[in-house]
């Protein structure tokens, strides 16, 4: 009895101490400056870590306090909602959102607007853009087209190519696929064999590649729609002894991918500009709190093609690890 009582006291005591400790830590970081809330679709990813970096730099420059909070691991609207709600409940002066889903986050944007908090979207936008103050996105269609261009160049305009897609239902992936497929039509020498999903799991991507090579022994080029897929495809090619023979282009410029490019396992990367997106979004949200409309409401940042030969000069586009 006594032992159990002690244990329970210990448990509740630790609980209280832990919560207080964490809360204090957070509290100490808080300044009196105006606040911008920023909710990414996922917090745990070099793409968003880079976006966070850009946003933080801009916030420092403007002298505003940035609240950066996002789900980790799980990518879905209801995983994102608690973050959106908790940040809005702190009544920030401005709000930046990277929606997991342009329709499903619409009620949240409406809620922010009803609280008189101006909303800016980054990376992807929401269904009804009349409610938002500004938007900044990457050019995913253009990026997909860049991948087709590079594959054509590397293969001398001739050969069989394949698309390794990521997770079904991801809007940015759909745009990249669209850009890739429509640009391929202008290269009649490239034969498009179709696509499969990697489920964003390297191990699954590696397995699919091994099966692909059995079915298409003359496969010459692969476009990987994101970093997880690219890492798996490289592994699959290595296991099959085809690394270097099959030309691979991959989206994003995460640390693993940059290393692979350096090692010659990839022929090129299509990098987005997450840090720049974060900077611009924070600036637009800040301006909106001052009543200033952005120069341009919809800002599209071009995606950057990083080739092996020029990568030394393009290191500013590599994503940040931490």
């Amino acid at each position: 009895m006594k032992k159990n009582f002690l244990l329970s006291g210990l448990f509740h005591g630790c609980l209280a101490a832990a919560v207080m400790g964490f809360a204090l830590g957070g509290q100490a970081a808080r300044a009196q400056a105006p606040t911008i809330g920023f909710v990414p679709s996922l917090a745990s990813d070099p793409f968003f870590i880079s976006m966070h970096y850009g946003a933080e730099q801009e916030a420092k420059k403007l002298g505003v306090h940035l609240i950066w909070q996002g789900a980790m691991g799980v990518y879905s609207p209801t995983a994102q909602l608690p973050f959106v709600n908790a940040v809005l409940n702190q009544h920030p002066a401005g709000f930046v959102l990277v929606p997991t889903d342009g329709n499903a986050l619409m009620p949240s944007v409406n809620r922010a607007v009803s609280l008189h908090i101006p909303v800016v979207t980054a990376d992807t936008s929401v269904a009804d853009t009349s409610k938002i103050t500004g938007a900044v996105t990457g050019d995913n269609i253009g990026g997909g087209a860049l991948a087709a261009d590079l594959l054509s160049e590397a293969l001398g305009g001739k050969g069989e190519v394949y698309l390794m897609n990521g997770l079904p239902g991801t809007s940015t992936d759909q745009l990249r696929k669209q850009g890739f497929e429509s640009k391929l039509k202008s290269y009649p020498g490239l034969k498009y064999l179709g696509f499969q999903f990697s489920s964003d799991q390297p191990s699954h991507a590696a397995q699919v590649v091994r099966e692909l090579l059995l079915r298409y022994p003359h496969l010459a080029g692969i476009f990987c729609i994101d970093d997880e897929t690219a890492i798996g495809v490289i592994q699959g090619l290595r296991n099959a002894g085809k690394l270097g023979q099959v030309k691979v282009v991959a989206y994003d410029a995460e640390p693993d991918e940059v290393n692979a490019l350096k090692a010659g396992e990839l022929i090129g990367l299509i990098a987005q500009q997450p840090a720049m997106e974060g900077e611009m979004a924070v600036k637009m949200a800040y301006d909106a709190t001052k009543g200033t409309q952005p120069e341009k409401k919809f800002n599209v940042l071009p995606d950057i093609l990083i080739k092996r030969e020029t990568m030394a000069q393009q290191s500013q586009y590599f994503y940040r690890g931490q």
Binding site: H12, M20, A23, A29, V74, P82, A86, N89, N103, P168
Partner: protein, 337 residues
């Protein structure tokens, strides 16, 4: 009916017999109060009506899944398809809703919603029935049966949608799903509360519940006592499916769209809530109130850490530690009692 009056008649005796359970739940409640109190002391506005409403609203999904999961876990089973069921029923419900409403040209928003709800419930019923039949007739272990169903339902969700949202829902739906009344209440919160009371009464004050506990404690003895074990298990899995379907409906009402990404990994939160709430995966114990408190503890921690400005990476660490500590304490309590 007669059974519930029998329990009521036992009065004080029943209370005494359940004392360890009552104590366990008081401890959980105390834990919740301490966490809430700590967050409130350090974050002015944590307990604002807005934020309390957000916490409850965002927790409804896990709470409803946890109710169904509690029933299954008490029988000694497990249902890992609840999240996928939420996803598929929500998608089919929103497809029906959008297609009969036709952007306002067809049926009105409310009758369309009713048809959508019926479609979602039908999905939940069929999935629950299939799970139940696999477990009772085909003798597949619950984990494997519902694992298979998790795959089937997740896949069908993507087959139906091609991975794209079911959009074009009448704006009234999201208004109904998010409108706050009486300061903190919303429709999802109200529905969850009513279902919690109903399931709680069924489980703790009716023959249905006594049979559920009996099966979980010792299925062979339950069979010997004349309890129709197979049929009862079938009902439990169907009920879990239906509760997941209701959760699917509430999710699309909150979002104002049918998202194929919904429900993924939700089963883990539901199981965590049930386990924090004091149920044993070996069956025979568990309460609806405990699971509710478990889900609320998770919801409060998620929200509180955000409001406190803590790096999001800590959330899962803290929730993991709480699960471990809660279960260790409960095991000690059980060994002693």
């Amino acid at each position: 009916m007669s059974s519930s009056s029998a329990v009521a008649g036992q009065g004080g005796a029943a209370w005494l017999a359940r004392r360890p359970l009552v104590k366990q739940q008081l401890m959980l409640l105390l834990g919740l109060v301490i966490i809430v109190g700590a967050f409130e002391i350090l974050n002015v506005g944590f307990l604002s009506a807005d934020n309390v409403s957000s916490i409850l609203q965002d927790s409804t999904e896990t709470i409803l899944l946890a109710f169904g999961e509690t029933l299954v876990i008490i029988t000694g089973g497990i249902d890992i398809s609840v999240g996928a069921t939420l996803g598929l029923s929500g998608i089919l419900g929103s497809l029906v809703l959008v297609n009969v409403n036709q952007g306002g040209a067809g049926l009105g928003a409310f009758p369309s919603l009713l048809l959508g709800v019926l479609a979602a419930l039908a999905v939940g019923f069929v999935i629950g029935l299939a799970n139940g039949l696999m477990v009772t007739k085909a003798k597949v272990t619950p984990f494997i049966a519902t694992l298979a169903m998790l795959g089937v339902a997740t896949g069908l969700t993507f087959v139906l949608t091609n991975g794209v949202d079911v959009s074009g829902m009448s704006p009234s739906i999201a208004t109904w799903g998010n409108h706050v009344f009486l300061g903190i209440l919303t429709l999802p919160i109200l529905v969850t509360a009513i279902l919690g009371i109903l399931v709680g009464l069924f489980l703790h004050c009716a023959r249905f519940g006594r049979w559920t506990f009996a099966i979980g404690s010792n299925a062979r003895a339950a069979r010997g006592a004349g309890i129709p074990v197979q049929r009862h298990l079938l009902k439990i899995y169907v009920l879990a499916g239906l509760l997941s379907a209701v959760s699917g409906v509430l999710v699309f009402m909150r979002l104002g769209t049918g998202s194929p990404l919904e429900g993924a990994n939700d089963e883990l939160n539901a199981i965590a809530a049930v386990v924090i709430g004091g149920a044993s995966l070996f069956g025979g114990t568990g309460t609806i109130l405990g699971s509710l408190l478990g889900a609320l503890i998770i919801g409060v921690i998620v929200n509180g850490l955000i409001v406190a400005g803590i790096q999001p990476y800590w959330q899962t660490v803290i929730i993991g530690v709480i699960i471990a500590v809660a279960v260790m304490m409960q095991e000690r309590g059980r060994a002693r009692d």
